[in-house]
């Protein structure tokens, strides 16, 4: 079964410096029908103005992933980590038993477009940690490229404390990629940009889809430019 969450139905906040869409309930946007999907709790599509950002704030017991589409984000946290993340990188911050961090647009001239994802961890009170990995832009073209997973079985994958995997794929028009979904597994598909079809259903930029009881996901890029998508494989 595939249930589409239309992009325009998402929550939205526009504070001038921040224009954000919330796939699931977040901050002042609260919809009991959209509180998350399985362990996936947040997908925020943020556009942050030049030089602006989120001042120091705290998190606890959450796996927080950041994926940048355009521009660069400057991350600082209370463990002493300070990094800039840009396109074709994945950042994972495990909040564990407590972390304070800030995220600012690293540029005073260009906006940044980023996706922030929260996944509930399997355990509470873990030690906070930070990981950031880059990959070649070509790796995600025409296939699902693993960004995050529960075990570090690949040096280029960030580890999260949950039985969940996050993939990215960029599909050009008529270019397809398939993903076998194991029995009793669930998936969430989120279109980051462009247009695609999922098992024959059209998905536009910003759309999401909850998937259950499907054996295979087949994504295909649609005209005119194809699209980029995140795929979550969830318990």
């Amino acid at each position: 079964m595939i249930t589409i969450r239309k992009g325009e139905a998402r929550g939205r906040v526009n504070r001038g410096w921040l224009d954000a869409y919330f796939t699931f309930s977040f901050a002042e946007y609260h919809d009991p029908a959209h509180m998350g999907y399985r362990a996936l709790r947040v997908i925020n599509d943020d556009r942050i103005a030049a030089g602006k950002g989120f001042g120091p704030h705290a998190h606890r017991d959450m796996e927080i992933l950041t994926y940048v589409l355009e521009g660069h984000l400057l991350h600082r946290d209370s463990t002493g980590e300070q990094h800039i993340i840009g396109p074709n990188e994945i950042q994972a911050m495990s909040a564990g038993n407590g972390i304070v961090h800030s995220e600012f647009n690293a540029s005073d001239e260009e906006p940044v477009h980023s996706i922030q994802i929260w996944i509930e961890p399997t355990d509470e009170d873990l030690r906070p940690s930070y990981q950031q990995i880059s990959f070649d832009a070509e790796e995600k073209i025409g296939r699902f490229w693993l960004l995050a997973g529960p075990k570090k079985n690949n040096e280029r994958v960030v580890t999260i404390n949950q039985d969940a995997r996050l993939f990215v794929a960029e599909l050009r028009p008529m270019q397809g990629a398939s993903y076998p979904l194991a029995p009793n597994r669930y998936a969430w598909v989120q279109v980051l940009r462009g247009n695609l079809s999922l098992n024959g259903s059209r998905l536009n930029e910003g759309d999401g889809a909850a998937v259950s009881d499907e054996q295979e996901l087949h994504l295909m890029g649609d005209a005119p430019e194809g699209g980029e998508v995140l795929l979550f494989d969830l318990q």
Binding site: G53, P56, A58, S78, V100
Partner: protein, 165 residues
């Protein structure tokens, strides 16, 4: 039951006291409190405008009455030489005195991070008492500065959480 809110008010120019403020905030989060971090605005001129100072000015906002009203507990952190009589703290302390006179601080607790200067620490403890705040400053002198601050944050969160139960 919602988490208690701890407001960390600090002043920092070089980033050293910011680290202690962050540690206190992390301790409060470990104690399952929600936190707000507020940095006092610069009043007196500084000869250098370092990258750290530019960043601090960009990342933090100054405390407002609404922040204090929303908080169950306050944590103060300041570098040596910036006691309660300093120009940087004057506006904040004045706001707190006004709120105290209006009964708006009733039931709130406070703690002071020891940043290594006894005179500064004592000036804040005196003000905490004058404001009618419940002092939760604890002696963690066996620990290093960061651990002390973290312990202080955790302690205030624990006390506030117990009070709510």
């Amino acid at each position: 039951m919602s988490s208690p809110i701890v407001l960390v008010i600090f002043y920092s120019r070089s980033g050293s006291t910011e680290k202690l403020a962050l540690a206190a905030a992390v301790g409060a989060v470990q104690g399952r409190a929600a936190i707000r971090l507020r940095r006092l605005a610069d009043i007196t001129e500084t000869s250098s405008s370092t990258d750290t100072l530019v960043r601090l000015r960009k990342e933090y906002i100054a405390p407002r009455e609404a922040d204090v009203l929303a908080a169950d507990g306050l944590i103060f952190a300041t570098p040596a030489g910036f006691d309660t009589s300093s120009a940087e703290w004057a506006e904040c302390i004045s706001m707190l005195r006004k709120m105290s006179a209006e009964g708006k601080l009733a039931g709130k607790a406070a703690a002071v991070v020891d940043t290594g200067d006894q005179a500064t620490l004592l000036s804040f403890e005196k003000v905490v008492t004058e404001l009618g705040l419940r002092s939760l400053t604890r002696d963690f002198t066996k620990l290093d500065g960061i651990e002390q601050a973290m312990g202080l944050g955790r302690n205030i969160a624990d006390v506030l959480r117990d009070k709510r139960q």
